[in-house]
C-alpha cells in the first residue's frame, strides 16, 4: 500500500459537455467547474495532499471563440480578485499560489492580479496551488531551453553544464516534487500538453466523469488507484535516476578529459558554483519581472 501523494496534477475536462447536457450556457459550465475545484482543493487539504497543479487554461484555448475566451477571462478576473480579498485566510492556512505559463498572453489587468497574488503568497509554505494559466508543456520546455541558451550566450554557463537536472531547474516546477498522480476527467485518455516532462513517473488516472460531477468517491478512488501502483512506479523512478546519475557522471568525466583538466574536484566545484549562480540570477530576474507587472518601469 502506497502513501498519500504529495503532489497531484488535475486536468479539469468536461465543463462544456456538462453545460450542454444540462442545457446551460458554456460560461455557467465553467463556473460549476470552478466551484468543483475549490471543493476538490478542500478534499486535498483533508487528505494531506499539500501540492496541487491545475490545468486552468491552455495556450491552445485561445483558439476558442472570442466570446468564450472573454467569459473565461472574466471568470478568472472575478475569482482572482476574490482570492486577493481572502489573503488573510490564505496566510492563515499557509497557502502559496504560483502561476505557470505565458503570463504575457493575458489581458494586462489580469497580469496585475496574478502578480499581486504571487507576491502576497510567495512566503507561505504549508500548501501549494499551482495554476497553469495559460500553459502548455512544450512552451514551458521551450522557455527553459531559451533561458539556458541565453545563459550560454552571455557566458554565464558553458555548453557542458547542460543536463537534465539543469533543464528541470529551469522549468516552472523547479521548486516542486514531480506529481505522483495525474487525474484527468471526462474519459479522455491523453495529457494534452500538460506537465509532459514532469509526469514521466506519474500514475495516470483517467476518470470517466465530467469535471463538474467529479465526486468525493471519484477522488478517493483515484488516490486508492495511485496507492496500488505506487510501488512499481517508485521502483522504476529510482532505477531511472540511478541510470541518469551514472550517465551524467560519465559525460562530465569525458568532458574534463577532453579539456585535459587535471584537478577533477576543482572542476566540479567551479561547475556547481557557476550553475547555482546562474539559477539564483534567473530566480531574481523572474521575481523582478513579476514585480514589474504591477509597477512598470518608466523609461
Amino acid at each position: 500500500m502506497g502513501p498519500i501523494p504529495r503532489h497531484i496534477g488535475l486536468i479539469m475536462d468536461g465543463n462544456r459537455r456538462y453545460a450542454d447536457r444540462h442545457n446551460l450556457i458554456k460560461s455557467v459550465g465553467h463556473l460549476h467547474g470552478f466551484n468543483k475545484l475549490s471543493q476538490t482543493l478542500e478534499w486535498c487539504k483533508q487528505m494531506g495532499v499539500n501540492e496541487v497543479t491545475v490545468y486552468a487554461f491552455s495556450i491552445e484555448n485561445f483558439k476558442r471563440s472570442e466570446e468564450e475566451v472573454n467569459a473565461l477571462m472574466g471568470l478568472a478576473r472575478d475569482k482572482f480578485t476574490n482570492l486577493l480579498h481572502e489573503k488573510d485566510e490564505l496566510e492563515k492556512n499557509g497557502v502559496c499560489i504560483r502561476f505557470f505559463g505565458a503570463l504575457n498572453m493575458l489581458p494586462v489587468d489580469i497580469q496585475k492580479l496574478v502578480a499581486k497574488i504571487v507576491l502576497e503568497t510567495r512566503h507561505n509554505k504549508r500548501a501549494y496551488l499551482n495554476v497553469c494559466f495559460p500553459y502548455t508543456s512544450r512552451h514551458e520546455i521551450a522557455e527553459a531551453i531559451t533561458k539556458i541558451s541565453e545563459g550560454v550566450q552571455k557566458g554565464a554557463l558553458t555548453v557542458s553544464d547542460i543536463d537534465e537536472q539543469l533543464l528541470e531547474e529551469c522549468l516552472y516546477t523547479n521548486r516542486s516534487p514531480d506529481p505522483e498522480l495525474i487525474i484527468r476527467t471526462s474519459g479522455e485518455v491523453r495529457l494534452s500538453d500538460f506537465l509532459l516532462w514532469q509526469s514521466s513517473f506519474s500514475v495516470l488516472a483517467f476518470v470517466d466523469v465530467l469535471w463538474p460531477t467529479f465526486s468525493f468517491w471519484d477522488f478517493c478512488y483515484a488516490i486508492f488507484y495511485y496507492q496500488r501502483h505506487h510501488k512499481v512506479v517508485e521502483k522504476a523512478r529510482e532505477e531511472y535516476l540511478k541510470q541518469r546519475f551514472e550517465l551524467e557522471e560519465k559525460a562530465n568525466e569525458e568532458e574534463y578529459f577532453l579539456n585535459e583538466e587535471i584537478n577533477l574536484e576543482n572542476c566540479k566545484t567551479t561547475r556547481s558554483k557557476r550553475i547555482s549562480e546562474f539559477l539564483i540570477n534567473l530566480e531574481n530576474s523572474d521575481l523582478q519581472r513579476i514585480r514589474e507587472l504591477i509597477e512598470p518601469v518608466s523609461n
Binding site: 520546455i141 550560454v152 491523453r190 500538453d193 531511472y240
Partner: protein, 277 residues
C-alpha cells in the same frame, strides 16, 4: 487523546483491509480471465485485416516496463503486436523499454526476424542492435533461445519483401529506451545553445524544437501509446512526443489475443481530439 489515537488505528486497519480485499479481487479476476483464454498460438496469430476503423494511428508506441524474468513473455507479445500493426499498415511502430535492457532488443529482434514478416519492415539501428546481440551471445555462456517459448509459428503474412513493394508503405520499427527521451531534449538544448553562442540563432519556438527533436529521433509524435501491464504510467517515455497521444493499457499481455489488440485500436478510433478548441 488516546481515544483519538485508537480511532486512527482502527481506521488505518480498516483501510489496509480494503486494500487487501481489492488485491484478492484482482488476483481472482486475473485468474478467471486467464482461464477464459483458450485460443491456441496459431489461432492467435490469425487475423483478418478489418478496414472499417474510422481512423488508425500513424504512429503506435508500445511501452513496456519489464524485469528480466518478464522479458520473454513481453517479446512474445511485442512480436504479435508488430505483426498486427504491419497488417494494418501502421507506418511507425516504436518499441519502448523503460529499463533499456539490451536483452529487450536483443531478444525481440531475432524473434521478429524468425517470423520472417520482419524482413518486410524497416528497422532503425539494425546494425547496432545486431552487434549488441552478438556481444551478448559471446559474453554469456547461457544460450538465448530466439524462438518463442510455446513454439509459435506464424503463417507467412500477405506481403513479403520483393522488388515490387514500395518501401514507403512498410512499417518502420524503432527500438528506444529512456535515454532517447529527456536526453534528446538535453542534446537539442546543447545544439541550440552552441548556435546561440556563435550568434547563428537568437530565439527558438516549440515548432523549431519539434523539428530538431524529430531529426534526432527519426519518428513523429505518437498517436497511440499502448502500455503493457496494469501500471498506468508512461515510465519516462520521450515526453516531447507524447503531447496529444492517446494512452491506453493492455492488462493481460501474457496471453495477448487479437481481440485485445482490436479493442485498443477501436478505442483509439473513437477518440476525438479538439486541439484546444
Amino acid at each position: 487523546m488516546s481515544v483519538e489515537f485508537a480511532k486512527r488505528c482502527v481506521f488505518a486497519l480498516i483501510y489496509r483491509f480494503i486494500h487487501a480485499l481489492y488485491s484478492l479481487f484482482e488476483f481472482f479476476r486475473k485468474r478467471l480471465q486467464f482461464a477464459a483464454r483458450k485460443h491456441t498460438a496459431n489461432e492467435r496469430s490469425n487475423f483478418s485485416v478489418d478496414k472499417s476503423f474510422s481512423k488508425l494511428p500513424q504512429h503506435l508506441a508500445v511501452i513496456a516496463n519489464c524485469d528480466h524474468s518478464g522479458v520473454h513473455s513481453i517479446v512474445d507479445t511485442i512480436s504479435l503486436i508488430v505483426y498486427w500493426c504491419s497488417l494494418l499498415e501502421i507506418e511507425y511502430i516504436t518499441l519502448y523499454d523503460a529499463k533499456g535492457s539490451p536483452h529487450f532488443s536483443a531478444l525481440a529482434l531475432p524473434t521478429l526476424y524468425s517470423h520472417r514478416f520482419v524482413s518486410g519492415l524497416l528497422i532503425k539501428h539494425k546494425k547496432s542492435i545486431e552487434s549488441k546481440i552478438k556481444q551478448i551471445q559471446s559474453n554469456s555462456k547461457q544460450k538465448h533461445s530466439f524462438t518463442l517459448k510455446n513454439g509459435t509459428s506464424f503463417k507467412r503474412p500477405c506481403f513479403t519483401l520483393n522488388n515490387d513493394i514500395d518501401a514507403s508503405r512498410l512499417s518502420k520499427v524503432t527500438f528506444i529506451s529512456a535515454v532517447d527521451g529527456r536526453q534528446t531534449i538535453v542534446q537539442v538544448t546543447k545544439d541550440i545553445a552552441s548556435k546561440m553562442k556563435r550568434n547563428m540563432l537568437n530565439t527558438v519556438n516549440p515548432n523549431e524544437i519539434s523539428t530538431l527533436i524529430q531529426e534526432k529521433n527519426h519518428f513523429p509524435d505518437v498517436d497511440l501509446a499502448v502500455i503493457l501491464g496494469s501500471t498506468p504510467c508512461v515510465f519516462s517515455f520521450p515526453p516531447w512526443q507524447l503531447r496529444v497521444t492517446e494512452i491506453l493499457t493492455i492488462q493481460n499481455h501474457d496471453r495477448l489475443e487479437v481481440e485485445d489488440f482490436i479493442e485498443v485500436i477501436s478505442k483509439y478510433s473513437k477518440c476525438q481530439q479538439r486541439f484546444g478548441k
